[in-house]
Assembly symmetry: C2
Homo-oligomer: 264 residues x 2
């Protein structure tokens, strides 16, 4: 059979995984790296293993976003190649899902031209960040949202968020050690709204620096608490210094919502 | 100080606990019983430890419902006594919550007369059961709902559920080994509704036999799948034989929603 490239759309709860891809520098992972094929170390390895069971040969999975340990996805995008299966896409989806643990689900399988690349074909990505903002902590959603009891002013946060929009230098909003020469990124939208106890932040952009979303969220939360005014954002951006921005929000509130990509 | 009785209203995610109270016969708990004071074996022990930290002496906590391993609560009720604290109720609540892990939260602390008893003062309880009924499994709610991909007819389930209402012999709907002579229980209401992917079953009653709710739910799901018609419920009740009813639904979809009790 000819080589066929497939695009996977994947949802997962990141709680029990060391991120999409194991990273030596991951600050959340405390233990030693498990031996090859042992445990459930990363989302990538777990999905690779499930696909291998179905197509009957090892595959390499390339993901659009390397989500950190504890970060979730509603629509991660990845690709792999195989010349060993004639199963139609819907059947592939069912078979891979049957081989996956409960906290990872393949939402879509799509045959793509060989020129499609989960990283290079990306046009933009949207992340969602959920903050449970109430006096009482949420016993059921502890690993699915960030709990902040201090009252947050979502309108002030929205005002601050709007200042991130555009092509900006995000050096102040990147974790040191990101190893990127170019720290200019395009934020397409940054929206903050409240639905009862939940403050929802949505950020779409062409690409993001390491921890950029979580530092943006940590900063917006300080604005929401009244620690500084929304117009401080432009000063923070101008400083080009990580110390100028707010703290890094924890991973459990973050969701890769979707990835928009070209068909080639 | 005089001895004071307190009523606690407690919410918890049962996922990481061996139920409210450790039971030798618990089928879900696989390991050996941890040594006294080690690990986080039960909700009861965990809350007792947190209260002890606050009132500075060991307390015995009596819970209204002995929820099974993996079962959650939005409003469990419990009581304890102390003559060692002058902290007002709101302060007690905050202090106990600060001493508890994230997946248990005290929603209310209320001083009660000594005649109040979390078990004996109970008028009725309501349980909720959540079924995620969609083609795609829920990666985020695996431990918070039961996943059934087979389409369920909630209207048929509601029709069947209505037949449980009244004072009935629930011998067919009790786990063998329940050790109760009297298997007659009063079900006040049994409602089934659908909210998009989620089928929600609410059952209120004066008291329930061991696994009664979960066997009722397992049976309602078979009705919803069309395995038998709603009017089979009365035959099942008449049989007074566990084998006549449907299977036992798993614990992760079950929530103790609230307990109604007399003030004495």
């Amino acid at each position: 059979m000819p080589l066929q490239r497939y695009k996977l759309t994947i949802a997962y709860r990141g709680t029990h995984y060391h991120g999409w891809q194991w990273q030596a520098a991951n600050q959340y992972y405390k233990g030693p790296r498990p031996a090859e094929g042992e445990g459930i170390p990363t989302i990538q390895e777990t999905v690779e293993k499930a696909v291998k069971e179905v197509v009957r040969h090892p595959i390499a999975l390339v993901g659009s976003s390397r989500t950190d340990s504890g970060v979730h996805a509603k629509g991660q995008v990845a690709h792999f190649d195989t010349d060993q299966t004639q199963i139609p896409p819907a059947g592939l989806r069912r078979a891979i899902n049957a081989a996956l643990p409960d906290d990872i689900v393949i939402r879509d399988v799509e045959p793509m031209p060989a020129s499609f690349d989960a990283i290079a074909s990306t046009i933009s990505k949207r992340y969602q960040y959920l903050i449970w903002n109430a006096d009482e902590r949420p016993p059921f959603f502890g690993e699915l949202a960030w709990y902040r009891w201090q009252p947050l002013d979502a309108a002030l946060m929205a005002e601050a968020g709007a200042q991130f929009v555009g092509e900006r230098d995000f050096a102040s909003f990147a974790r040191p050690g990101h190893l990127r020469e170019n720290t200019i990124r395009r934020v397409i939208s940054c929206e903050v709204s409240r639905r009862r106890e939940m403050v929802v932040i949505g950020i779409e952009g062409g690409g993001f620096l390491w921890n950029q979303i979580r530092i943006m969220v940590g900063t917006l939360v300080e604005v929401g608490m009244g620690k500084y005014s929304p117009d401080r954002i432009s000063e923070m951006l101008a400083a080009r210094d990580r110390r100028a921005a707010g703290p890094t929000a924890p991973p459990q509130g973050l969701y890769l919502q979707w990835v928009k990509s070209r068909r080639e």
